[in-house]
Symmetry: C2
Amino acid sequence: MSRVLAREMGRHAGTEVTLQGWVHNIRKIGAVAFLVLRDRSGQAQVVLEGDMLAALPTLESVVAVSGWVKPDARAPGGAELRARQLSVISPAHRLPPFELNRPELTAGPEVVLDHRVLGLRHPKLHATLTVQSELIRGFREFLRGEGFTEVHTPKIVATGTEGGSELFPVQYFEQQAYLAQSPQFYKQMLVGAGYERVYEVGAVYRAEQHNTSRHLNEYVSLDVEMGFISGEEEIMALEERMLAQMFAGVAETCEAELALHGAKVPEVRDVPRVPLAEAQAILERRFGKLLPPGDLDPESERLLCQYVAESGRPGLVFITRWPRFVRPMYAQPTADAPELTASFDLLMNGLEVTTGGQRMHDPTVLEASIRSRGLDPEGFAFYLEVFWHGMPPHGGFAIGAERLTARLLGLGNVREASAFPRDRTRLVP
Amino acid sequence: MSRVLAREMGRHAGTEVTLQGWVHNIRKIGAVAFLVLRDRSGQAQVVLEGDMLAALPTLESVVAVSGWVKPDARAPGGAELRARQLSVISPAHRLPPFELNRPELTAGPEVVLDHRVLGLRHPKLHATLTVQSELIRGFREFLRGEGFTEVHTPKIVATGTEGGSELFPVQYFEQQAYLAQSPQFYKQMLVGAGYERVYEVGAVYRAEQHNTSRHLNEYVSLDVEMGFISGEEEIMALEERMLAQMFAGVAETCEAELALHGAKVPEVRDVPRVPLAEAQAILERRFGKLLPPGDLDPESERLLCQYVAESGRPGLVFITRWPRFVRPMYAQPTADAPELTASFDLLMNGLEVTTGGQRMHDPTVLEASIRSRGLDPEGFAFYLEVFWHGMPPHGGFAIGAERLTARLLGLGNVREASAFPRDRTRLVP
């Protein structure tokens, strides 16, 4: 008898089926026991009677149960399995370090991360990575529809994107190398290689010393770069349409997962574009908050999203026109104010989830910008070459996949959105 | 006037359009010049006359050309653009180091890699990464249809999958870490975390000293792992169906790219399963080649594919039943011969492109196997934990994306299938 998934059991009412999965819960009530079986699709209620009660499996054991599917309005999915045969495929030899069959996992966050694999069996934690997987699928699907090519760029690099800080060193045979902080140079280079529109889903590495709820030292970056643009507005408009489609996709395919988190996907439309100077003025006027030029701190990001949300909009806002001195050397100046850049951050529900903008494409201008940072263009020769050979105007953005997932689901810590987070001290599991 | 792609120009006959792209070629013939414009979609012929001949753009400059689309059977795509206006968006300041507008790139392989970005402008090289992108898309699409979840596992790890050799060391703050050789442990752990079926497209790292045409030190691994299997045959059958769908997808969407390489996608059906001992017997009988137990060298892989192809089949063969001593410690022994494993390699057109098999799921057996290799299970505690808490029978495989692409397109060197290859000495571009 071939296997049926828990979610599909209701469709097989009146027939005999086999379920396979983990023992999520068992309650013995008199002469029957109710076993909740959990598989990748969800949960099913199984009724055990007679001999089967003599040796009930331990919680979290992997079992196969065959029996008749009986409609029952009280059971999840509107049906239960009357077991005829139960066999243990792989027993759980030990008790889990926390209770997986309660609505919330109540152990402390470090305990949950120490036992990350078992924690991911909890339906709510499990749902997080499912949602992330669907978000990333939506990302790719949208971009492919727009003529983008998926690329894979090296994570072992000879030099940092920004010139050297916060890099993890790698011993590459006899050479000193680093882990890539970003595919920034490579995605630009591939635009110039004639792909014009590229995206990458890949790991990036930041050797940041601080351990906060918003930082990971290794995370998944959703990177986009696009040539032949007229300006940064085209990039923001693309991201807006993209997020709208990604969120709509998740709303459609992850209804149960969103419900477990009590999350609703925001409608992404007409996201306000607020120049940084204006954002700072709002913070001062409305919240009495004074900031140094070019700066937005975490509290400001929260307040600005709150400000936008007060007008009944989703908590999404593009902060534009950042000064050059807080942006990387490749950021394109705005046409009307050369001390500002044609760049943006996207804040979502209180946190920056995207940085993007137009990049310089004139090699002379770019080299001058590199020099103005006290860097030597020679060190960037591999990046600069394509600019001397015909580089279209271009720009792009990057989204932190874990941050986006965390903001969408209202998670308190970005680690919860990473399968196996790497932070200041954590290398295992 | 909004931009039209070169490939689409024929559809706009009789109207005025704008093309944007790179100057692929210019030939001046009397009072006219024929400019071939190249964009991400392909090439278009542009006819320049009058004043426009006074200052022709340099090769590889980025230009915009507006004009009327005139049907012309002699032009590629059946139409040419009669230019009314030509403007240089971004000039090429230097001559490319090789000729991009010949059917083949004739420079030496190291020169081409030194100038990789410019090389990728050549239509044939360009096509390689387009095909790879479509192969990977097919991989994901097939697996999602089979209920698999995409995952992202860490590439900074505390320990190697196989116990320590060929690892790149990373300085992770105060700790010694390594780059992951494979997501093997993590994908198994995520099967046990209840996802049951997972896949990952991610970088893996091998600090192999040898520089051959078949090795990359950083490459893209297409990893699959699946729980609740009955044996390794189920995994091979899955891979067979998967490759068939991936190749069919590429045949459909990459017709022009395949044609540039003179490549035809093989039909994947009824791929022979040949036990290693039998494969060695064939090599001895048919080719007079003697090999040590458990070994297949590169020449043997070529000969075995040739042997299969001689019977009119595509050059694909699963080599099964590898001895335990040449497989990792987690490889599941076969039911009938405990010194052999339920594992396989897939050879394609002369090269191993996949390793896979069933894994041990009993924690006692797995720990004993780890000890039998002289390793301490304590060092694998983060991996082993889930096995004590109910681990289903499972197995999977990994495909090297660059190798698969290279085999499909008949490339002589796997580097050609990597956007920015990392080999024994190459860290740039």
